[in-house]
């Protein structure tokens, strides 16, 4: 698989003093008696990759779906690019989503459309009429960014798992979002492909200065992509710090993830 045309990844410093682009304040979410999130708070800065670690079923995907507005939290406030999303109507939320990218765990590619149509779909939906003449260039650029320039006319079913993940990332990148939410981007991939996807996440951050919120429990990937790691446990932000800081953490609950 081609590694793409972006610069090779390098450890990026955590831009802790950069502008805050996403804030989660005291988020709670329950499904019946199952209290998935309890008083979860976290901030994301521009150009920063934050990984949220947690056991399966700990509420990581629920958290990320609350951020994009697919689920509504029972309590708490989510501010994205300066806007409290609970106050936005459908159209305002759509406009905000143009500045947010979301990479689904399942990729969620439109299986009846070709790769090109998958990429063009969000462009056309976002009223980017002024970009119509640039459509072909934007598709080509997004495909080159993920190293799959020759797959435009293929259907998702004709691609491998890693290629589908890359195309899903290209579909996210085509709107040039300021924040990207990744829901377990390496789950189900072999270790080599998982490493390539992790490198790609880092490359995207460096090239476009995007902030990323990454849900993962793949520690190899976490080490490669994280500027900061937050541990989700008992529904809250149990601990946070750099990968190295948490790896040295004395609390066995934190330490167990790194051994």
């Amino acid at each position: 698989m081609s590694p793409g045309t972006l610069p090779q990844p390098a450890a990026a410093p955590a831009p802790r003093n950069a502008e805050v682009v996403l804030t989660l304040e005291h988020i709670s979410k329950s499904f019946g008696d199952n209290h998935v999130l309890r008083d979860f708070s976290l901030e994301l800065h521009r150009g920063e990759n934050v990984v949220v670690l947690g056991k399966s079923g700990s509420g990581k995907s629920v958290l990320v779906k609350c951020m994009i507005g697919l689920l509504r939290p029972d309590a708490g406030r989510i501010t994205v690019l300066g806007q409290d999303i609970s106050t936005l109507d459908h159209e305002e939320m759509d406009q905000l989503r143009a500045r947010l990218g979301f990479l689904f765990q399942s990729n969620a590619l439109y299986d009846s459309m070709t790769v090109r149509e998958n990429l063009v779909f969000p462009l056309r939906r976002q009223w980017l009429a002024d970009r119509r003449d640039q459509e072909a260039d934007l598709v080509q650029q997004a495909l080159e960014d993920v190293g799959l320039a020759d797959t435009a006319n293929k259907l998702p079913a004709e691609l491998s798992g890693g290629q589908r993940k890359r195309i899903a990332l290209a579909r996210t990148l085509i709107l040039q979002p300021e924040i990207i939410l990744y829901d377990e981007p390496t789950t189900g991939l072999d270790p080599i492909t998982a490493r390539e996807i992790s490198a790609l996440i880092r490359q995207v951050q460096q090239k476009y200065n995007t902030a990323a919120f990454i849900i993962s429990h793949d520690m190899d990937s976490v080490r490669l992509v994280a500027d900061r790691v937050a541990l989700l446990a008992e529904g809250g932000c149990y601990a946070q710090g750099t990968y190295e800081e948490l790896a040295r953490h004395e609390d066995p609950r934190v330490h167990d993830f790194f051994t």
Partner: protein, 252 residues
């Protein structure tokens, strides 16, 4: 609280219909997708509907002709078949075939999109999936079924003409004259109008079942299956209502 699953489902479908009317007539209008759906549900159903209509007309004629001959009323076969096809058999058979073909396909397609998160992906792309997927399909089925019914009626009547000519000789002009002599607008128009409701029911139930599919691939199968079952049942209920209403209005 009364928690019958049947009533809960009926209420949920009614709410879904309410959402269709609330969202369907406000911009943005998904014109391109609507025409695509008209092509899919209308044009691509033509062969199926055509064959069914032809067989319906032929069988009805061949089975009724001997009985009518016994009473010396053979000359009334075109009138009787015309009335039967246009008032009842054409709309109901076409709607049931349509429910089987289109209702199941909409249920399976939307169900599959739901369980693979494609509907969520659409929402995240800034598209209202309800408008893009549901409104376009329901409008397409509502407008295409009446057209398909008219076509099936025409093909059914032609098949009846063919059937009559296998037993004897009748000119097309005489056949058409006999058919039309037994029909009035008060009979044709209610039969035509009810097909809009049949089409709406097929589209709405198919979309509802698919849009709310859960539990993976088994859920997709269940969505497709129940879309056909529920919309077929609804077609019969609507037909019963239609006959009551036309009776009250003095059209029966």
């Amino acid at each position: 609280m009364f928690s019958s699953p049947f009533l809960a489902e009926t209420g949920a479908i009614a709410q879904f219909a309410g959402r269709f009317f609330r969202e369907g007539f406000r911009p943005r209008y998904e014109v391109r997708e609507f025409f695509h759906q008209c092509y899919v549900v209308g044009y691509q159903s033509l062969p199926m509907v055509g064959i069914t209509g032809f067989i319906m007309g032929l069988v009805l004629t061949l089975q009724s002709q001997p009985t009518m001959a016994k009473f010396g009323a053979e000359a009334w076969v075109p009138t009787m078949v015309g009335l039967t096809i246009i008032r009842e058999m054409g709309p109901i058979i076409t709607a049931l075939v349509f429910a089987g073909k289109i209702g199941s396909s909409i249920g399976a397609e939307l169900g599959s999109m739901r369980v693979t998160e494609q509907i969520d992906a659409m929402e995240v792309s800034g598209t209202n999936p309800f408008k893009y997927l549901v409104v376009t399909r329901v409008l397409a089925t509502t407008l295409m079924l009446p057209l398909l019914t008219v076509l099936a009626d025409g093909i059914g009547l032609y098949a009846s003409y063919v059937g009559i000519n296998t037993q004897g000789t009748t000119t097309l002009a005489l056949f058409i004259n006999n058919v039309l002599s037994g029909l009035t607008f008060a009979e044709v128009l209610p039969a035509f109008f009810k097909t809009f409701f049949f089409g709406f029911a097929v589209g709405l139930v198919g979309c509802y079942k698919g849009y709310h599919a859960t539990k993976g691939t088994a859920g997709v199968g269940a969505a497709a299956n129940s879309a056909v079952v529920v919309s077929s049942l609804l077609i019969f209920i609507l037909d019963l209502l239609a006959v009551q209403i036309t009776g009250l209005l003095g059209f029966n």
